[in-house]
């Protein structure tokens, strides 16, 4: 086994992977700056939601988050070029992850994947071939990378797909084709595709196709005979999804990441260059390193399934929703109003989240109970500062999930001011509404109006 892991492989594929990953980081940083999202995400808000255990991650004052993204972009370019790789790779991981951890409402699954790939790449010698480092210091150049590098990256990408597929193993997705019916219904005017979405059956094709694709694509990519057609399907799938939905870099991240499934010499074959069969002997990885690698794999395999410990519908209570590759499985909107009362003052106030949040933050936070709890604590603290130290904070929160009628999401009798966040099951989150979503159907733009007076 160890022998197989240390087997020398052609450097070409992972060198290209490094270039692609660096380019994605660079592009992501440029998009953040060019679209004004750094300002929108980090300058406009006055309140930031923290990840459990990462409340210490700071948001820098203006203009330093802009500078951070500028540095991330530069690091991405250096990473791609293989310049000062040993320093740049971990630095890129740290900075990129810092930016992602700064506010939970910015959470994106594919940026989490980028962080993980950067972390793994930090422990790999990817800068020692097809790089500026190798050109500047030829003595550091490697003619072969150990096979474990490829295996580890393949495992990580496979984990993403497999768990994204498992997340779709639900009645909402497979039986009701939700939230796809909702999403496609809203896109019936899409050029070329739009009329197709008038067919409810298309949502089912997308649902089952997506489920089968996610759960099996790592397998097809792993088999030599099916690899190329599988990759073409992968491109078609992600391009289609990218055209339909505002998912930004997601298609490119996945299309780029999946390159790790190809043979290590695929770039040479593509360029019609002779393959190099390295004959060098690579040192065996240290035991601690192997243990860490195995631990990483175990964590990555199990953490996405932690929601099963909580029971219920993870899309509703959201405990175990993050870091779990639950990609595009819910359309959930919520309304939250805080009811703040002070017995001593004899007053009750209604506090609107928008008093603290931007429109974007409010939209993201309202459907996530742990974030509702976080803001409740901030509101409590503000009232205490104003002299109302006996204040109680309750949330009137209703949510609609995947086309169901809305239902209370948080127990309105619980004083959230006295509830601590944690990893245990949250008793203050009410159970998900039972029953199927509304049986929604699309409406195509080409149809003739037939409004009849009813009022």
């Amino acid at each position: 086994m160890i022998e197989r892991l240390r087997r020398p492989t052609d450097v070409a594929a992972l060198a290209v992977f490094r270039m692609v990953l660096g380019a994605i980081v660079l592009t992501s940083a440029v998009r953040m700056l060019a679209h004004g999202w750094v300002t929108e995400f980090f300058v406009r808000p006055s309140y930031f939601f923290k990840y459990w255990g990462f409340s210490w991650v700071p948001v820098l004052p203006y203009p330093w988050m802009h500078v951070l993204y500028l540095v991330i972009g530069i690091c991405g370019a250096c990473f791609a070029l293989g310049l000062a790789y040993r320093v740049v790779a971990p630095l890129t991981f740290v900075l990129f992850t810092w930016a992602e951890l700064a506010d939970v409402t910015n959470w994106l699954n594919h940026y989490y994947l980028i962080s993980l790939l950067l972390l793994l790449a930090s422990f790999m010698p990817l800068g020692r071939a097809w790089s500026l480092d190798a050109r500047i210091r030829p003595s550091t150049r490697l003619d072969a990378f150990p096979a474990w590098c490829t295996y580890l990256l393949r495992f990580q990408v496979a984990v993403v797909y497999f768990h994204a597929g498992l997340a779709k193993l639900s009645t909402d997705w497979l039986i009701h084709a939700q939230p796809l019916v909702i999403w496609l219904s809203a896109r019936t005017d899409t050029p070329l595709y739009g009329a197709l979405f008038d067919e409810r059956a298309v949502a089912y094709v997308f649902a089952w196709g997506g489920f089968l694709y996610d759960t099996t694509i790592p397998l097809w990519l792993s088999i030599r005979r099916t690899r190329l057609p599988a990759y073409l399907v992968l491109i078609g799938f992600h391009v289609t999804v990218g055209v339909l939905f505002p998912i930004g870099m997601f298609p490119y991240v996945m299309i780029g990441s999946a390159l790790v499934f190809f043979e290590p010499d695929w770039p040479r074959k593509l360029l019609r260059r002779p393959s190099l069969v390295p004959s060098v002997s690579l040192p065996a990885p240290r035991t601690a390193f192997v243990v860490a690698g195995v631990a990483f794999c175990v964590v990555q395999a199990l953490v996405p399934m932690r929601h099963r410990l909580y029971g219920g519908d993870v899309s509703w209570h959201e405990q175990g929703m993050r870091f779990a590759w639950k990609v595009m499985v819910r359309e959930k909107n919520a309304s939250v109003t805080y009811v703040v009362s002070s017995k001593r003052a004899g007053r009750t106030w209604y506090v609107e989240p928008r008093q603290y949040l931007t429109d974007r933050q409010e939209k993201e936070f309202a459907a996530q109970p742990d974030l509702v709890l976080q803001l409740a604590h901030r509101i409590r603290d503000d009232f205490v500062k104003d002299g109302y130290d006996d204040v109680e904070v309750r949330a009137d929160a209703i949510a609609s999930l995947n086309g169901r009628l809305s239902a209370p999401m948080i127990d309105p009798t619980v004083d959230l001011a006295r509830v601590d966040d944690g990893l245990g099951k949250a008793s203050w989150i009410l159970p998900a509404p039972e029953g199927a979503p509304l049986r929604l159907r699309p409406v195509w733009r080409g149809r003739v109006a037939s409004h009849s007076p009813r009022h």
Partner: protein, 401 residues
């Protein structure tokens, strides 16, 4: 399977969504799920109906604003109690219509940061921006007489909000602090009551003239024979302003949140002390239209316009409820209907002549109205947004996955 065959298969699967759906002889897609068909509903006609409703309201307002301009001109040239009262009535008539137009803040009336937005709302009615002290400084300096006043002055010193003060507030005091030059130098006191009223009448005429001109411009922007934003709006998905029909629906949906953000929060919640911002409730100075005392009528007009968007502008026009029913979300339409009925009932239950008096004598009734508005907003944010896949435009910024 050989490699070329694999390639062809992969491309075919990838391009599958570009195939057209199965269509019947009448060009309509037949439902394969056995559902009742979506009812032959047409999203473009719904957008057109929203646009027609907005344009009709703007035309009505332009007429009312023109009448206000005439009335203020008379009140200026023939300052009698009767002419002042006529101007006040004209203001109330104009405001009653504009309060309906407040719900139609999509397209040119909306902020320039939104699709098709041209910031045309605030110069017509800038509330809650209304700077009384600055206005009184303008009265002293006669700044309003400058031809550039309508363009150069702060919006908080003009618009219908200031016209209200100028026409309805007849007392001789001002809201500036003693250290302000108009008080410290005795400039205000030196004017005398009669001159203050004369200048207020002249100022009101300037403001009314500007509002009437802007109202005509707003109509022109939508008019099919002029700016024809109506075609842009109804043709959403086929132009660069609205890249999709969904963008246009988002714009209307955002406009409907006026009932939540302005009516519930600003017009009711804050003055009633239900939201933070009012230390000793009720805060009567925070009520809308404090001098004309038509705060309640304003809210009634806001609710009426919201209902027009929800149920249709008139009996023959489609509204959002038709779309909800067409997609199978009738329970959501019914929920919204119920909440609107609760709002109307709560409004009817406010028995005092003015909102100010209700805030003082019937706080429970005001809270009931607030709760009814809150329930409506919750359904809008949760159910309505979900089944129609609506996004706040600002929320739609950035990536997703």
């Amino acid at each position: 399977m050989n490699r070329p065959a694999c390639f062809v298969l992969a491309i075919a699967i990838a391009l599958l969504p570009s195939c057209r759906s199965r269509e019947g002889d009448d060009g309509r897609s037949s439902s394969s799920s056995g559902d009742v068909d979506a009812g032959g509903f047409d999203k473009a006609s719904l957008l057109s109906a929203f646009g027609q409703c907005a344009l009709g309201t703007y035309r009505e307002f332009a007429d009312a604003a023109s009448a206000l301009e005439t009335a203020t001109r008379t009140a200026e040239t023939d300052p009698t109690p009767a002419s002042l009262e006529a101007a006040q009535t004209a203001w109330k008539n104009a405001m009653r219509v504009w309060q309906r137009a407040e719900l139609f803040q999509f397209g040119p009336a909306a902020a320039s940061t939104t699709p098709g937005g041209q910031d045309m709302r605030d110069p017509i009615y800038a509330w809650p921006l209304a700077a009384r002290c600055l206005t009184e400084q303008n009265i002293v300096a006669r700044t309003y007489e400058s031809p550039s006043f309508p363009e150069a002055s702060l919006v908080s010193t003009r618009s219908l909000a200031i016209a209200e003060y100028l026409l309805f507030y007849t007392a001789g005091d001002n809201a500036c602090p003693p250290e302000n030059t108009i008080n410290a130098n005795g400039e205000w006191a030196a004017l005398g009551m009669q001159e203050i009223q004369r200048r207020k009448a002249a100022y009101a005429r300037v403001v009314a003239t500007d509002v009437a001109a802007r109202a005509r411009r707003l109509v022109d922007a939508w008019d099919p024979t002029k700016g024809n934003f109506l075609a842009t709006f109804a043709g959403a998905g086929t132009n660069s302003t609205f890249a999709s029909q969904q963008m246009a629906f988002n714009a209307v949906s955002d406009a409907m949140f006026y009932l939540d953000l302005q009516v519930k929060n600003l017009k009711i919640g804050t003055p009633a002390g239900l939201l933070p911002g009012c230390a000793a409730p009720p805060c009567l100075d925070m009520v809308e239209s404090p001098w004309a005392n038509v705060g309640k009528e304003n809210i009634r007009a806001n609710v009426a316009a919201y209902t027009q968007l929800l149920r249709g502008c008139d009996a023959s026009s489609p509204g959002f409820d038709d779309l909800l029913i067409a997609i199978g979300a009738q329970p959501v339409a019914e929920k919204l209907d119920t909440t609107v009925a609760s709002i109307e009932a709560a409004l009817d239950a406010l028995a005092e002549p003015t909102l100010q008096e209700d805030l003082q004598k019937n706080p429970a009734g005001v809270q009931a109205l607030f709760e009814a508005l809150r329930a409506n907003a919750a359904v809008m944010k949760a159910d309505f947004a979900t089944v129609l896949d609506l996004e706040l435009p600002k929320a739609a910024l950035s990536d997703n996955d």
